[in-house]
């Protein structure tokens, strides 16, 4: 195989893997949108909050330590030195479920039957509030998140591919981050579990019923509110997984919440209402972005196409299919 071809494969492979990360975030959006019709702009901040909380539990930070110390002149920082990863993740999950419950009680309950766009703006407010609370609780410094997922280049793959190039060519093998491979595996497990859950359990069926038709679901005795809490908790859980992955890669800091902005083009490409759409959209955007960076980025001499390329890609796509790749057909009536 020629070096160009191998490089191309490497780019596509890396694109697919970063696409998985986008899909993870997009999945949380889709779940909430399907079940409650809310476009949850706060999904990225959810991921940030989950990651912050996880680090906080791991290192035993006292919540609101900065605030307490500044108000009362005390000097609290940590309860304990460390906590096992498993326990910390479990506690974070409990926190995310509690958060879902609080959001349902304080925000969603009061906004039932409002315009979707009002709900959307409410979630922008939610994003700000949660970000502020996260910073107040755990501090805004960049934190290292390590739950034992290995990272760095895969040496095995590098050695395995080095022989593929033609004899005598200058090829050093493919570079693929192990973390991304793990992310892919975890994402696949997550999606399969979700699919099984929604297909074969009673709650899962209730979930799909609500997604299909609120009114009909209510009339057969499904409690809309408990389903909403459940859905927000599940997407809180997905946000946690995404937060762990992204946090391990680039540290837990404010910019983590911006992954929501990365997931938006994925959503419009895949359609707001389709789980397969979120996954395939994520993969498409991941690959498209990486290929554009390498094959088109060169012409601009400026690089950093990543910030907007996905958006333009999704936008061009929208002109032809306004409901996205797999979205429900939009039927409008007066």
């Amino acid at each position: 195989m020629s070096v160009e071809l191998l490089n191309f494969i490497e780019t596509v492979l890396n694109g697919l893997m970063s696409g998985v990360m986008y899909s993870l975030v997009a999945l949380g959006f889709v779940l909430i949108f399907k079940a409650s019709g809310v476009f949850n702009f706060a999904q990225g901040v959810f991921a940030l909050f989950a990651a912050l909380t996880l680090v906080g539990y791991q290192t035993g930070q006292v919540p609101f330590a900065h605030l307490i110390n500044e108000l009362f002149g005390t000097n609290y920082h940590n309860w304990y030195a460390s906590m096992p990863n498993f326990l910390a993740i479990l506690l974070t999950m409990v926190t995310m479920i509690a958060l879902a419950w609080i959001i349902e009680r304080l925000v969603l309950k009061h906004l039932v039957n409002q315009d979707p766009i009002i709900l959307f703006m409410a979630t922008i407010g939610l994003a700000f509030a949660l970000e502020g609370v996260g910073d107040l609780m755990w501090g805004s410094d960049v934190k290292v998140l390590d739950v034992g997922i290995p990272s760095g280049g895969s040496i095995w793959l590098e050695e395995a591919t080095i022989g593929l190039a033609a004899e005598g060519s200058d090829y050093y093998g493919m570079y693929v981050d192990v973390l991304n491979i793990w992310a892919t595996v975890i994402a696949v497990i997550l999606v399969v579990t979700l699919a099984l859950f929604s297909q074969y359990t009673k709650t899962g069926r209730a979930l799909r019923a609500v997604a299909d038709d609120h009114q009909a679901a209510l009339s057969v005795g499904i409690s809309l509110r408990s389903i909403w809490i459940l859905v927000w908790a599940i997407s809180g859980f997905i946000a946690m997984v995404a937060g762990i992955m992204w946090g391990t890669e680039s540290g837990v800091q404010f910019s983590l919440s911006l992954i929501a902005l990365k997931a938006l083009p994925v959503l419009i490409l895949g359609g707001f209402t389709s789980i397969p759409g979120a996954i395939i959209g994520g993969l498409l955007i991941g690959v498209g972005e990486k290929l554009a960076e390498i094959y088109i980025g060169g012409y601009f001499e400026t690089g950093a196409l990543e910030n907007w390329f996905a958006y333009v890609m999704a936008l061009v796509f929208l002109l032809f299919r306004p409901q996205g790749l797999f979205g429900d057909k939009i039927i409008e009536r007066v």
């Binding site: 900065h66 922008i124 970000e131 907007w308 999704a314 929208l318 007066v334």
Partner: protein, 359 residues
């Protein structure tokens, strides 16, 4: 008693169509204009100019622009920062190519350029709506900021990527640059804001404004009764972008003087705060744009005073509180009063009508 309209007869179409049909409104407005034009310029100091009045005026303009698009025409936009950047960079480029041009004309031309850019980015609105459109406008935000950051022609190949305003005068008094006196920059912004607000108010009352509202309320029905969606949506994008572009030009030329595009026109520093302004102020209300801008500009100052100076929190913690309070306020407003401060004002007027009598 205070706000009664009894006895105020309208005997001609002209008086019926007045912007302020009631005597009380006329008096209040004239008093406001009197204070704004004839008192404040004499007492203004640098702090009031830089911290409150000039940002308030500039953001009012941006809020009016976004309100035209989102509040009146129903097209949610998150790309305000990008469009303000277009205004700022057009001003900068025109300034370098035409050193003798009057600053007022430069700023208005920048507005027109932004309007053209707005039309281009408004094109997707013909096919997509709602969330899809909101996300699409984010594309304009990212693309425009990237463009101004990465293409050196826009910042005249300077090493830092910053653009800096040079001194320009109106009637011999500098209004841009470091030497500009407080009253001059204030009056310059004030004149633009007053003139453009009247223009916007009248546009909204015209055929164009009514077709915007028809599209907002139900676009298919509007199309069936003969409102052309293409023309209406694009005109809303153009006019909204014009206002936002002028605001961006003022933000750069008069207020900041030197900007770095990724910091000054970020989605967090411009796009969302301007969206707050129109939500808190009131969607689809001119008064709301001003109230919202005033609220958003003064609240951080008030909060900082309260938390840093009174309670003694550090600036970082205070900042976190500020973000939290913004978010909570937005949610509270959406739940309690989705029509914003403007609605509260009209409730107050209703109360004042019969106060102190119960009926």
């Amino acid at each position: 008693m205070i706000y009664k309209e009894t006895g105020q007869y309208k005997s001609s179409y002209k008086s019926d169509h007045a912007i302020f049909p009631l005597l009380q409104d006329k008096i209040a407005f004239s008093t406001l204009m009197f204070i704004a034009f004839l008192i404040i310029p004499f007492v203004i100091n640098s702090y009031w100019e830089k911290a409150i009045l000039v940002p308030f005026l500039i953001f009012s303009l941006a809020a009016i622009g976004l309100n035209i698009l989102t509040g009146y025409c129903g097209q949610v936009s998150l790309g305000t920062g990008g469009f303000m950047a277009v205004g700022a960079f057009s001003t900068y480029k025109i300034m370098t190519y035409f050193p003798d041009m009057n600053i007022m004309i430069i700023i208005l031309i920048s507005g027109l350029i932004t309007a053209a850019v707005g039309i281009i980015f408004g094109l997707p609105s013909l096919r997509i709506k709602g969330f899809y459109l909101a996300v699409a406008t984010l594309a304009s935000q990212f693309f425009l900021v990237w463009l101004f950051n990465k293409v050196p022609w826009f910042y005249n190949y300077s090493d830092t990527g910053q653009i800096t305003v040079s001194e320009r005068t109106m009637f011999g008094i500098p209004v841009t640059g470091a030497e500009a006196p407080s009253y001059a920059t204030y009056l310059f912004c004030l004149v633009l804001v007053v003139v453009l607000s009247f223009a916007a108010k009248n546009l909204i009352r015209s055929k164009m404004g009514r077709s915007w509202m028809a599209i907002r309320d139900m676009d298919i029905a509007a199309e069936i009764i003969g409102v052309p969606p293409l023309k209406t949506k694009l005109s809303a994008f153009a006019i909204s972008s014009f206002y936002i572009g002028v605001a961006g030009a003022l933000y750069f030329a008069v207020f900041l003087g030197a900007i770095e595009v990724t910091e000054s026109f970020d989605i967090m520093t411009i796009s969302f705060p301007v969206l707050f302004m129109i939500i808190i102020g009131g969607l689809g209300s001119m008064l709301g744009s001003f109230l919202g801008a005033a609220f958003v500009v003064t609240l951080p100052i008030g909060l900082k005073f309260l938390m840093v100076d009174m309670v003694g929190l550090s600036a970082v913690t205070a900042k976190h509180f500020e973000i939290t309070i913004w978010g909570l306020l937005m949610i509270v407003f959406l739940i309690v009063e989705p029509h914003g401060l403007a609605r509260l004002w009209s409730i107050a007027k209703e109360k004042l009508r019969r106060w102190p009598f119960p009926y």
